[in-house]
Symmetry: C2
Subunit: 103 residues, 2 copies
DNA sequence: CACATGTGCAACGCTTGAGTTGCACCCCAA
DNA sequence: TTGGGGTGCAACTCAAGCGTTGCACATGTG
């Protein structure tokens, strides 16, 4: 498993979400994304590197360009881990409640 | 619903996770947390403000101190939203597959 | 009341990250 | 083979975030 915190850090940026949603319309290269977004190609390339680092995005070579696709499974996996953590906290609250009720 | 991105930004920091896990042992004030963690009380107070801002933590006045408790439900809600987004991407891939197969 | 503990506010230094520009390289297509 | 679009690397600016220190204020407790 990829460590969780860097994934959240990657998801905690509006520009990266705009990149992810743009990629939702289909795989695209950094240059293609630069045409749709109001920032430079290099800025996008850096964001793609961050997203790739945490497994949210995957490079696909097509001819001389590098297109990127969203890895939906990684989103799901992260969601499950986060949900599990939430459940642990709920269980902890349950324990506290049981203790309180037994007084 | 609180907007999603700031929640991820809040969760994308190791120090804040150490605060959250410390709070897992029970509600605590910024001063109490400062005894367990290697950073100053004010730094912790800022982190708690960030966490409270996105609803991950809740203040509880106890006498003259302000203790904080983790809102597990917010973690669960965020997880569900993230999972839903992941499913949308999967569905999109499904659509692409169906198109490809119909050629 | 007086003291001490907990909190809040403000200013500062430092690091990190986002975004930019410029340039070099690679590789497909005409 | 040559030109142009795509990519990668490097250096720079600028803003934001983390953490610190110092001080003022409040509020229980002795």
């Amino acid at each position: 498993m990829t460590t969780l915190v860097p994934v959240f850090a990657a998801l905690g940026d509006d520009t990266r979400w705009s990149i992810l949603t743009a990629l939702g319309a289909g795989d695209a290269s950094a240059s293609a994304l630069a045409d749709q977004l109001p920032i430079s190609r290099q800025a996008i390339a850096k964001h793609l590197a961050v997203l790739q680092e945490v497994g949210l995005v995957e490079p696909v070579r097509v001819g001389r360009e590098v297109r990127f696709r969203v890895v939906g499974a990684q989103l799901g996996a992260t969601a499950r881990q986060l949900d599990e953590i939430g459940r642990q906290w709920d269980r902890r609250l349950e324990s506290i409640k049981r203790i309180a009720e037994s007084l």
